[in-house]
């Protein structure tokens, strides 16, 4: 086999999760899961000997479960973007994140599970899922386990998945009444295709402008998507006004740990975190009122 080329020798399309985990555990690092292919076939990693296609695992669904929502890992982004489940309430944050990602054609192929498992620090969907307090269901040889999505990301392109495990489902719990959320993304040009310079999701639960609960998630400013915990604490239990929003945005920008790269300098990114957090909070407030 030529070194450095993407030349998998085997392709499997398992019909059930047991078979998929068995394949994953027997091939270990030499195996890669494939869904939409929009990350894998761009990166074309060498040394992959076996591709495991998730197509026949029945993981393409969006369904209500009580007051929560379950999304199969192989659900494509165009379905999330268009689903009536994400057209109202705080759940719009997820369709906003989906519709701001890549191009419409890529969204016909890319899956929610792929976007999560690729674990890009600049990924869009994880931020929306983080502010919605989502959990992920992981299936492996030992059965299944559930993790809060914030604990799923460990480092750049590194997740909590063991070699025999795959992500099967995302669960979004119900949010209390008076909750609004929003997603904002800054690109070098606001064209359809670029990755985020900075991306932000926010969620507020308020009554009479009194902030009962808050979540802020920041992307492209650390090795993994992060919660702005200090900004959240600053907001919680206080009356929301312009000054408080401004202060929270500033605190969030101090929590960011950005780097310089081709898309922007660390300093620019930190400043833009403050701008985006402020706008996302303001937008979320307007959505709390319904």
């Amino acid at each position: 086999m030529k070194e450095g080329f993407f030349r998998p020798r085997e392709y499997h399309r398992p019909n059930n999760l047991q078979e998929a985990t068995w394949l994953l555990s027997s091939f270990g690092k030499r195996a890669k899961l494939i869904a939409g292919g929009t990350d894998l076939l761009v990166n074309k990693p060498p040394k992959v000997e076996c591709l495991i296609d998730v197509e026949s695992l029945d993981l393409n669904y969006i369904r209500k479960d009580g007051d929560g929502i379950r999304i199969g890992a192989a659900t494509t982004l165009d379905l999330i973007e268009r689903s009536p489940m994400f057209s109202a309430g705080p759940y719009v944050v997820l369709s906003e994140a989906a519709s701001n990602m890549a191009t419409p054609t890529v969204r016909n192929m890319a899956t929610i599970g792929g976007n999560i498992c690729n674990a890009s620090p600049a990924a869009d969907l994880p931020l929306a899922l983080m502010v919605l307090d989502s959990t992920v269901k992981i299936y492996g040889l030992g059965g299944s386990r559930v993790l809060p999505i914030g604990e799923f990301f460990e480092d750049v392109n590194k997740t909590a998945l063991d070699e025999d495990e795959l992500l099967v489902e995302v669960y979004i719990p119900p949010s209390p009444a008076g909750t609004g959320a929003s997603f904002l993304k800054l690109r070098r040009h606001q064209t359809a295709i670029d990755l985020a310079v900075v991306n932000v999701a926010a969620k507020l639960t308020c009554s009479d402008n009194f902030c009962e609960d808050a979540r802020i998630a920041l992307g492209a400013v650390a090795k993994r998507p992060i919660y702005a915990e200090k900004a959240k604490s600053l907001l919680t239990g206080k009356r929301l006004d312009g000054k408080l929003i401004q202060d929270a945005a500033k605190v969030a920008s101090q929590e960011a740990k950005p780097i310089d790269d081709i898309r922007g300098s660390a300093q620019y990114r930190r400043r833009m975190v403050a701008v985006l957090v402020k706008r996302a909070l303001e937008l979320s407030i307007t959505r709390c009122e319904t």
Binding site: R7, Y11, G37, L41, V42, D53, P104, V106, I193
Partner: protein, 161 residues
């Protein structure tokens, strides 16, 4: 290397072929089936030149493995005309002169085909959003937008008759 046997329906005809697990649909269409209307642009999912329709959806053939489409129906630009008669989208692109170098054109038309299959009366905004998947290096978007809207009107007229 272990080749796999697949059967795919391309432009209405079923084919059986053996493919390597790493062969893209784009390579199979162009190099093995001689269907060179589908173009290879960036090979990274950014330009849309390789767009085909799979089961009615606009899909990038450069980021799709041939093994993944086993059993599926694929439509390429070569499958659009009925004999000598061009598809209304092709006709509209010719009439509007919505082509400069032409390299992005098959991808644009296949993307527009999937749009019109699902939405026979798209707004200009929806057409523009759809075309955001297709990079035209000659920067000629105005005429393709008009051509797609023209084709939609013509196709709706045909349906009503």
């Amino acid at each position: 290397m272990t080749k796999r046997d697949i059967s795919i329906c391309v432009n209405g005809k079923w084919y059986e072929l053996a493919v390597e697990p790493y062969e893209t649909l784009l390579d199979v269409l162009r190099n093995r089936m001689g269907l060179t209307g589908t173009k290879s642009g960036c090979a990274k999912g950014e330009c849309g030149a390789c767009t085909v329709n799979i089961d009615g959806k606009a899909i990038l053939s450069c980021l799709t493995l041939a093994v993944q489409v086993d059993g599926k129906e694929i439509l390429t630009i070569e499958g659009l005309p009925k004999g000598a008669e061009l598809h209304p989208l092709q006709e509209a692109f010719v009439k509007r002169a919505a082509v400069q170098c032409g390299y992005c054109t098959p991808g644009m038309i296949m993307n527009a085909k999937a749009l019109l299959d699902h939405n026979s009366n798209p707004s200009e905004k929806e057409v523009r959003k759809t075309l955001s998947s297709n990079l035209c290096r000659c920067t000629g978007y105005e005429r393709p937008v008009k051509a797609i809207l023209d084709a939609a009107t013509i196709m709706r007229g045909k349906d009503e008759r």
